[in-house]
């Protein structure tokens, strides 16, 4: 496919680009309902046990959480720049922006790992020796581990996709104007948006009073 970004069954790159975005939007709708279902379960359980969930929120490490929020928001900016630069066939700018996105994403995962280690040391895994008194705080932390873990897996998936696409483009096996960069950017923004919901739910609860 030397130089050709066009694939079967498309007749024009414009239409193919439209399809790549459209297909990715549909997938994002699906992802939104995946996280939506889990967040709904979180909110429903929190409705029954507001005090325990507030206590759990106070235990979550807000320094790591906030730093990661900033990292992820910045990475969405660099990703947007990278995708637009790729489309405009500016290889240097695109390569740098995508590289920066990868670095920010990796930094997020590293911080997340440190945070998880600190959480385990504080006894926040809802098993034997759990640090909090209220039984329902175990449920709150069950959601914490599940949601941050699933979000981390999505982030890892996004990083792999961007690394693979950028690697192919740098090696000249994929034209920069391939619609895949735009699709990958959309997916990356979703990861960001999901975090925008997780951050207040998991970290900010119970801190206002």
């Amino acid at each position: 496919m030397s130089g050709g970004a066009l694939r079967e069954p498309w007749h024009s790159l414009r239409r193919q680009r439209e399809a790549a975005s459209f297909g990715m939007w549909l997938f994002l709708a699906s992802e939104a309902l995946l996280f939506g279902g889990l967040i709904l379960a979180f909110i429903a359980t929190r409705w029954f046990h507001p005090a325990a969930f507030a206590a759990a929120g106070r235990e979550a490490d807000i320094v790591y959480g906030t730093a990661n929020t900033l990292l992820l928001l910045t990475s969405s900016l660099t990703m947007a720049v990278g995708a637009q630069a790729a489309r405009a066939e500016l290889p240097r700018l695109a390569g740098r922006a995508l590289g920066l996105t990868l670095a920010l994403g990796l930094a997020f995962l590293c911080l997340k790992g440190l945070e998880w280690r600190a959480d385990l040391a504080k006894g926040l895994w809802p098993g034997p020796g759990f640090a909090l008194e209220q039984p329902a705080a175990r449920i709150a932390f069950a959601f914490y581990w599940l949601l941050t873990g699933l979000h981390g897996l999505h982030l890892l998936g996004g990083l792999s996709a961007i690394a693979w696409l950028a690697g192919q483009a740098v090696l000249g096996r994929r034209p920069w104007r391939s619609p895949a960069f735009e699709a990958a950017a959309l997916y990356w923004h979703l990861i960001d948006v999901v975090w925008m919901f997780l951050y207040p739910l998991l970290y900010l609860d119970g801190r206002a009073a």
Binding site: F27, G37, L38, A41, T45, P135, L146
Partner: protein, 563 residues
């Protein structure tokens, strides 16, 4: 009329005549199949996989009916019986019914019907099959290792805290199969939006395309919630994260809400594609334009949307608030309206049609009868007082089998017969096919109608032993199941036979409308030589001014002349 009948006679072609180049012969070798991105070949891959799961699930059904032949629990232990009906339910719902029509007929026909060369994302289509096969293997491992005893619904806290079956493996298999559904769904939606042939407006789409579109929307939006609910079970069972544990303040009912938020729309995933198939068949063999095309389209969309709002009717006796139950009951009545519109419109399509009873038509007529019964008994279940009486009885079992088996599986067989000449280029033996269609109708009714009676009399579902007064109904049901099994196996035999010895089909043996009949049988790799341009609506079986106006009534004539 005689002209029409003559047009349907399949001209016998010389068997020595070489096949034109088509998608089956375009490439050779195992790799050309396993790495294909041709939607037609992937449809056949799905067909083979689904056949295997249909046999596994059918085996479960046979064992259940054998055990229930006598009131005593004699063939297997209660635990083995639990595992058997869970096997039957899990395999049949997720590994046969959900993908049945969309991934076989839909995968094959959708691009052909809208005049495209392939689906929008051919490699995603192949990925969807591999995900499905991977999920299937996981499930088979779970079943061979010892099975699952939760029922297909995985209710908590039994599934999370007490079950000693292979719940984790089964749940992961279902999650993975769900991603395969999502991949197919988004592919279909993108294809319908972006790859329609010039002139193929939205309101010129065949109803099968609309039905697949509606199904895909439900797949993309409902399936992830199933993944979410099963992920919570995996988290609790594998990692001890106590989400639904009542001892910690968790709510087991929350699982039911999440589960049915997917699993009720999943009923429409299973039945909507059949609506599409039936609309294609009824119009063709009644030689009539579909009655109320736009109403049919809106009915599909109505079902797809309102299907998301009725899940609570599965929880009338679970301790949900009475006011919630009333709302869900009302909405469940509301969703019966579009289904009724479809049944009325098929019936009006038949009215004054030039009906002939080819095998696909017999399947379609059987579908309309069985689906109507299944739909009406659904209204019984939507009414709270009756539902309280028949919850967890055989009445419910009979109801959903009328929809999913009498409806969806009959439509699958009908559609398979109808498009078999297009898919394979061969004609099946018509006499055997008609016999199988009739046997399927009676075998089905014989198997499942007694369940309504015994269910209403109080026979609970999911028990291996039962009071002797129910035996007469169970014996009827088990005997009917023998006929039904024969009716399901027969087409497998004659269709396989036709692959080798069947007469060669013309491009359009039924004289049907629709773009898929405007290309060769079997179609070439790229579907069409020159991509078609569409200048008219679907189902133009009686173009205006070609027959007498409806005000000039002609006297009724018997089909096939005066015998």
């Amino acid at each position: 009329m005689s002209e029409l009948a003559a047009g349907r006679v399949r001209p016998a072609e010389g068997p020595a005549e070489p096949w034109p180049d088509n998608y089956l012969t375009a490439e050779q070798g195992l790799g050309s199949w396993l790495l294909t991105t041709d939607h037609k070949r992937i449809a056949l891959l799905y067909m083979a996989t689904l056949l295997a799961f249909f046999v596994i699930g059918g085996f479960g059904a046979v064992m259940i009916r054998l055990e229930l032949f006598t009131p005593e629990q004699d063939l297997m232990t209660a635990d083995a019986y639990n595992r058997m009906f869970t096997l039957h339910g899990t395999v049949m719902v997720w590994f046969f019914l959900v993908p049945s029509i969309p991934n076989t007929l839909g995968n094959f026909l959708l691009p052909l019907m809208i005049g495209a060369r392939d689906l929008a994302f051919p490699r995603v289509n192949l990925l969807s099959w591999y995900l499905f096969v991977g999920a299937g293997l996981l499930l088979v491992v779970a079943l061979v290792a010892g099975g699952v005893d939760t029922g297909w619904t995985f209710y908590t806290p039994f599934s999370t805290m007490f079950s000693n079956g292979y719940v984790l493996l089964a749940a992961l298999a279902v999650i993975l199969a769900g991603f395969s559904s999502i991949a197919t769904g988004l592919n279909f939606i993108a294809t319908v939006h972006l790859l329609r042939a010039p002139g193929m407006h939205w309101f010129r789409l065949p109803l099968l395309v609309w039905a697949l579109y509606g199904t895909s929307v439900v797949m993309v939006l409902a399936t992830p919630v199933l993944a979410a609910s099963l992920l919570l079970i995996v988290a609790e069972r594998a990692f001890g994260l106590p989400v639904f544990d009542p001892a910690q303040g968790g709510d087991p009912l929350l699982f039911q809400h999440l589960f049915w938020f997917y699993s009720h729309p999943a009923v429409y995933i299973m039945i909507l594609p059949s609506f599409g198939v039936i609309s294609e068949i009824v119009t063709c063999f009644a030689r009539r334009r579909i009655f109320g095309y736009t109403f049919m389209v809106y009915a599909i969309l109505w079902i797809a949307v309102v299907g998301f709002l009725v899940w609570g009717h599965h929880m009338f006796v679970s301790g949900q608030s009475l006011f919630t139950s009333l709302v869900f009951s009302f909405l469940s009545f509301v969703i019966a309206v579009p289904s009724a519109i479809k049944v009325f419109n098929w019936t009006f399509t038949l009215y004054r049609g030039q009906i002939t009873f080819e095998a696909p038509m017999l399947y379609a007529l059987g579908f309309i009868g069985l689906f109507t019964l299944g739909g009406l008994t659904g209204l019984f279940l939507a009414a709270i007082p009756i539902d309280v009486h028949v919850t967890d009885t055989y009445f419910v079992v009979a109801h959903f089998h009328f929809i999913m088996v009498g409806g969806a599986v009959t439509a699958l067989y009908g559609g398979l017969s109808f498009w078999w000449p297009k898919i394979t280029g061969r004609l099946y033996p018509e006499g055997w096919a008609r016999f199988a269609a009739i046997l399927m109708f009676f075998g089905f009714a014989f198997t499942f109608f007694p369940m309504f009676v015994m269910g209403f009399a109080g026979m609970p579902r999911r028990y291996a032993a039962y009071p002797p007064e129910f035996q007469i109904w169970h014996v009827m049901s088990s005997c009917g199941a023998v006929l039904l099994a024969a009716a399901y196996l027969l087409p497998m035999a004659y269709l396989t036979f036709s692959l080798f010895r069947g007469a060669r089909a013309t491009d359009d043996p039924w004289d049907a409308t629709g773009l898929e009949w405007r290309t060769a049988s079997p179609p070439p790799r790229g579907n069409f030589g020159v991509l078609p341009v569409v200048a008219e609506g679907p189902y133009l079986y009686h173009p205006e001014a070609e027959g007498p106006h409806h005000s000039e009534r002609e006297p009724h004539q018997n089909q096939g002349g005066n015998l």
